[in-house]
């Protein structure tokens, strides 16, 4: 075999190797496949509300000042399928951005305290956590996009009781298109909604393009 021939072979081999690596990376970089989108949207459609017209009994309430409602905040989240054991903090809205106030620590999950708590018999209990952070590395929800239908999520409330949920849907939306009203709904079937970031990362803006949303129902 001539030197020239060997060089050509090496070039071919390098070329094949480069393309193989590129192909593998492209496959790995595919966005999380959406599953159960129809189920997630069906959960949000509220049962028809009864109208009072023609109903002889009109609700009458004592016009007392509203008092604090009893809610059960989630305090701990366990997702064995993706090795998540995390503390849950009650969070609200960032005054400056009007966005969900995800806890600054990437190891902690935020529960939207204005929405339903674990006691609610309707609506979406929303928890959100970091996928990662530039300073702190991987977050509690780094592997949220790997969750699949049938996986179990266990949420412990401030009352100490653990509640099991079963994943029914995993969806990926561009942040500009995500139907947030549906995920922050206070009506519809009782459900747990887990949100993090995903999709392509804009290194200049330091932002992910998408949100990953996992929907689970009481198991």
């Amino acid at each position: 075999m001539t030197v020239r021939n060997r060089g050509a072979l090496a070039a071919l081999a390098a070329g094949v190797a480069a393309l193989t690596v590129a192909a593998l990376l492209a496959c790995a970089a595919q966005p999380a496949r959406t599953v159960g989108a129809a189920q997630a949207s069906a959960l949000a459609s509220a049962p028809p509300t009864a109208t009072a017209s023609g109903d002889p009994s009109v609700p009458v309430t004592a016009g007392e000042l509203p008092s604090s409602a009893e809610t059960i905040p989630p305090v701990r989240l366990l997702i064995p399928a993706i090795d998540v054991t995390a503390t849950v903090d009650a969070v609200g809205i960032n005054e400056r951005t009007n966005e969900f106030e995800v806890p600054p620590s990437v190891d902690e999950i935020g529960w939207y305290r204005y929405g339903p708590g674990l006691e609610a018999d309707a609506g979406s209990v929303v928890v959100a956590g970091h996928v990662d952070s530039a300073e702190q590395g991987r977050g509690a929800f780094f592997r949220l996009r790997e969750l699949d239908q049938g996986d179990t999520v266990t949420v412990t409330g401030s009352d100490g009781a653990a509640r099991r949920y079963r994943v029914v849907a995993r969806e990926e939306y561009a942040k500009t298109k995500i139907p947030l009203d549906r995920y922050f709904a206070r009506d519809g079937k009782p459900r747990l909604t887990l949100i993090t970031c995903g999709g392509p990362f804009d290194a200049k803006a330091r932002k992910y393009r998408d949100n990953i949303v996992v929907t689970a129902v009481p198991a």
């Binding site: 050509a8 008092s67 993090t196």
Partner: protein, 276 residues
């Protein structure tokens, strides 16, 4: 005392009907929404009533301080009558005939005293537009026989110079506030203080009722839920470790691979040809 109320109420019936019809004038009526939600608030002290709508008894023994509804009423005209509990509609103490209910509105009808202590009916259109995430709406209505008042939250006046039968409102941070009502421009507390839990995404409507002279000043509250908005977004990552999709480097790698393959292949082919 009660009987004198009744007589005055009866006299005020025509005025009430006018006021009720007036609601339509300042309510936008979308063509698609024909029903309105109508609540009734009872703010006349010591005067329980039965309420008739179009001749049908709708509320029985409706007590001062209570809130009834919401009723879903089709757009249209209604005859409303209040009687002493158990008495026939013929001996109504207050009537509002052909009261116009516009479509698609949320209305509260307050039976209350005016500033001079005369019973009357005032319809209010409730602001049920969405509140921003994290906020709650506070609406205060002066429906008491009392002079102008200021409403204070945590000791600071938030609504000033409110008079009967008007309202003041604002969207505030959700949560607990200690509120009281003082005579306008003074520190003389007329009502309260009371702890107010303003739940996010709701409108809390507080009616000042009763009479200052009769020492019956009190509050009635009505809550409207479902006005919440979702947060503007859920920002939850700025590290980029989980980024999907391919970057520039991927195209460079693929390009290099293709060039190497082409180059190597051509060279191999020419080498073989050369050897022949």
């Amino acid at each position: 005392m009660q009987l004198s109320y009744f007589r005055r109420v009866a006299a005020g019936g025509a005025v009430a009907a006018l006021a009720f019809a007036g609601v339509g004038a300042f309510t936008a009526t979308p063509a698609y929404a024909a029903t309105s939600k109508v609540s009734v608030v009872h703010g006349i002290p010591d005067t329980p009533v039965d309420v008739y709508v179009n001749g049908k008894k709708t509320l029985e023994n409706f007590k001062p301080g209570d809130v009834a509804g919401p009723l879903n009423l089709e757009e249209g005209d209604y005859d409303i009558a209040l009687t002493k509990p158990g008495e026939p509609i013929g001996s109504a103490i207050l009537k509002a005939d052909n009261a116009a209910v516009p479509g698609g509105a949320n209305i509260s009808i307050a039976a209350h005293l005016d500033a001079a202590g005369q019973p009357k009916i005032t319809p209010f259109v409730n602001d049920v537009s969405k509140v921003a995430a994290g906020k709650a709406r506070l609406i205060v209505r002066h429906t008491a026989a009392a002079p102008a008042v200021d409403v204070r939250a945590g000791g600071t006046p938030v609504f000033e110079g409110l008079t009967n039968p008007n309202e003041a409102k604002g969207d505030v941070d959700a949560g607990n506030v200690k509120a009281d009502v003082v005579l306008a421009g003074t520190d003389t507390v007329a009502i309260g203080p009371a702890d107010l839990n303003l739940k996010e995404g709701t409108a809390t409507i507080v009616y000042a009722i009763g009479s200052a002279e009769g020492k019956t000043l009190d509050v009635v509250a009505q809550t409207i839920t479902g006005l919440h908005s979702a947060p503007g977004g859920v920002p939850s990552g700025d590290g980029g470790q989980a980024g999907t999709g391919v970057g520039t480097w991927w195209y460079v790698l693929t390009g290099a691979g293709v060039l190497l393959l082409l180059g190597g292949g051509v060279r191999m082919a020419t080498a073989r040809t050369g050897r022949k």
